[in-house]
């Protein structure tokens, strides 16, 4: 049946967990493109056949007309599926760019080459905008209540100069840090916030 593969592609994306990316399905994507080519050739051959017979595509409602119509509709449908797949992945990717920078290796390897370029350019744009306005826009996504928080270090980071102290961030250490210093580490998964 026409348009089946394209819909599979969309279903695959739709069934994955929202906000997360699975690997770009290059294989299926190419197959759908192939199907589009097939429809295009069929459409063209039908149209040229009608031209030879001298019948007008607008008025003649013969079997060739409807055959061409079905191929045209299948093309439009496949296009919509492909566009939706690429568009929705790009949306997820964009929100990931705001959450973690740079993107971890395990996400990078799931992207297609144009998606890699998109994420790189998007991060660069965010950075240049931030340096222009002189604000770190990714910080304080949730309004803070206290400038200091208690954190536990999850990994050996070593001695780091923070904004108000030089702290030894050894694994399992429990520290009282400035919120702004801790936040980058927490978002990278290197620390966790302790709540009483």
């Amino acid at each position: 049946m026409y348009g089946k593969k394209a819909c599979e592609l969309v279903k695959e994306f739709s069934s994955s967990e929202s906000g997360q990316l699975s690997a770009f399905n290059t294989n299926l994507f190419a197959q759908v493109n192939e199907e589009c080519n097939f429809h295009f050739h069929q459409l063209q051959s039908l149209l040229s056949k009608m031209q030879e017979e001298g019948s007008d595509n607008q008025t003649a409602r013969n079997a060739d007309h409807f055959g061409a119509l079905i191929h045209h509709l299948s093309l439009v449908r496949n296009k919509r599926c492909l566009m939706a797949y690429v568009y929705n992945r790009a949306e997820v990717l964009r929100s990931l760019c705001w959450m973690v920078d740079p993107l971890p290796e395990e996400i990078q390897e799931k992207l297609s080459s144009s998606e890699k370029e998109y994420s790189k350019n998007h991060s660069a744009t965010i950075k240049s905008y931030q340096s222009e306005t002189d604000l770190d826009l990714a910080v304080d996504m949730v309004p803070p209540k206290d400038p200091y928080i208690k954190v536990r270090v999850l990994d050996d980071i070593g001695s780091v100069a923070l904004s108000d102290q030089i702290a030894n961030l050894a694994r399992h250490a429990i520290l009282f840090l400035r919120r702004t210093d801790a936040e980058t580490y927490i978002s990278q998964g290197l620390m966790e916030e302790l709540t009483d």
């Binding site: 039908l46 055959g67 119509l69 599926c81």
Partner: protein, 186 residues
């Protein structure tokens, strides 16, 4: 009006609808793989995906009938106890497809069917989302359509948010993409 990039809308339009060709069409041989003439004859009965059936129906090329999930048996079951009918198995996009078919087929009874079914089931979904223990929920979840699933999840997350607001919770969270185990297939 649904959006061009809307994934659910795309998948809903892939549901099969029984149709009868009113005209012949050349160059399309995929409807019946045993047929090698590469042509669809007038009067052939086929199951077309909705996106194709709609456009062909609007051009009077095919006549469509209602898919099996709107048959009399389902209607009777919905009338008896809508909350316990397994709609997911029949058609995971029951409401979406119903709305689309209603405007196309002009069958007024679909609208009342959808409304009555949704009203009864909505109540049940909200009650379950706010009260049911996790152990009970899985069995109930298997009969919900995609739309009802979203309602259920929305109900649950707002309940969780309410509880969190009452207790107070951590302000910083790990980025959700981190700390996730990689699947072996990747």
């Amino acid at each position: 009006m649904s959006q061009y990039y809307d994934l659910d809308d795309i998948i809903a339009e892939d549901e099969l609808v029984p149709a009868v060709f009113q005209v012949a069409a050349n160059g399309v041989g995929l409807f019946d793989s045993s047929d090698e003439t590469n042509k669809v004859e007038q009067g052939s009965r086929v199951e077309l995906p909705f996106w194709l059936a709609r456009e062909l129906h609007l051009r009077q090329a095919v006549s469509i009938s209602l898919p099996p999930c709107f048959n009399q048996k389902t209607r009777d079951e919905l009338a008896a106890d809508a909350a316990h009918v397994d709609l997911k198995n029949r058609c995971p996009y029951f409401y979406e497809l119903g709305c689309k078919l209603f405007s196309l087929a002009g069958d007024k009874s679909i609208a009342f069917l959808l409304l009555a079914a949704f009203q009864t089931r909505y109540k049940e979904v909200l009650i379950k989302a706010q009260t049911a223990a996790l152990a009970v929920a899985p069995k109930f979840l298997t009969i919900l359509t995609k739309e009802e699933m979203k309602l259920y999840e929305a109900g649950q997350s707002s309940m969780a948010a309410f509880k969190k607001w009452r207790m107070g919770g951590p302000r910083f969270q790990k980025a959700s993409v981190l700390g996730r185990k990689r699947r072996p297939s990747d």
